[in-house]
């Protein structure tokens, strides 16, 4: 299991919130977040994506494939997100140190209507102060 550490900034919380149309003040205004009982700007529920999806993808352009994915990406061909299963603990806030533990399940192959498909399941656990904030199973599919 590979651990990754992120310190969540207010700018990252605001940026992700805006990217999904989350305009509530608790994501953007520190005083509003405090008034709502949060220790700092509270991240939207799916903010963890901005941490987890970047793992392994923060690469120079010349280390990316023609399709824009990481050169060492283990899925080839037409690759898309297939789904996710997420359980939530306490919300992530700006200033939090988030430890992300990543593991992968063995790929499974099945025959789809357009041919052979390989399904990869990546498990990511996001831990703040030794408490699990998010437990994610992320599914990708390729041919």
């Amino acid at each position: 299991m590979t651990p990754h550490t992120f310190i969540v900034s207010r700018a990252e919380v605001r940026r992700f919130a805006l990217s999904i149309g989350a305009t509530d003040a608790v994501h953007h205004d520190v005083e509003a977040a405090h008034a709502a009982g949060y220790r700092d700007l509270v991240a939207p529920a799916y903010f963890f994506q901005s941490l987890g999806l970047s793992i392994g993808r923060l690469l120079p352009a010349d280390e990316l494939r023609a399709d824009g994915l990481a050169g060492d990406d283990n899925l080839a061909g037409n690759v898309v997100a297939a789904g996710s299963q997420v359980t939530f603990g306490e919300p992530i806030c700006a200033g939090d140190e988030v430890q992300v533990e990543v593991s992968e399940q063995p790929p499974t192959v099945k025959q789809g209507s357009k041919g052979r498909l390989t399904l990869h399941t990546i498990n990511r656990r996001y831990v703040v102060n030794e408490s699990v904030a998010v437990d994610e199973a992320y599914l990708r599919i390729g041919n």
Partner: protein, 159 residues
């Protein structure tokens, strides 16, 4: 601690087009850029129209995780407004959702569970494209802080 049996709930709320929660959005190039930048998603099918067509798509593809994030935000805001929280969510992506196509997100009560003290509501959720095809669907589990809110939910009394 008493237990609330899981039971199906039928709803017909014309105020929301028949759905407990419903939001419409049109994912534009700018919004795809914002989401891909925030998540460092460099996959060209999300920002390079010619490349997306080369891969067989008819237009830029809205990232599946972006659909999940928007659905999650919708139900999390609903939960927060009703003294609850989003406890879990599971989605599958079935079909591409394309840039600039109007989409509708909706949620409906599928079942009730948990306990009287900590009731749970399971919602059936989906993102539906302009043709009525579900691009993404799944379930979201909300935990409410008290039974009073739950009863109001069953009675259709939530704002």
């Amino acid at each position: 601690m008493s237990t609330i049996d899981t039971l199906p709930v039928d709803r017909d709320d014309s105020r929301r087009g028949g759905h407990l929660i419903e939001r419409r959005f049109v994912p534009t190039e700018i919004e795809l850029f914002m989401y891909c930048a925030a998540t460092w998603n460099t996959h060209r099918i999300h920002y390079d129209r010619d490349y997306a067509r080369l891969e067989g798509y008819r237009d830029l593809v809205v990232p599946g995780p972006m659909q999940a994030a928007r659905l999650g935000q919708m139900v999390a805001e609903f939960a927060a407004a009703n003294d609850g929280r989003l406890a879990a969510m599971s989605v599958r992506h079935h079909a591409p959702l394309y840039c600039n196509d109007a989409a509708t997100m909706h949620a409906d009560v599928a079942s009730l569970g948990g306990t009287a003290e900590v009731p749970r509501v399971e919602l059936a959720i989906a993102v539906v494209d302009v043709t009525g095809v579900a691009a993404t669907s799944g379930t979201a589990t909300l935990v409410l802080s008290g039974s009073a809110k739950l009863l109001r939910l069953v009675d259709g009394g939530l704002a």
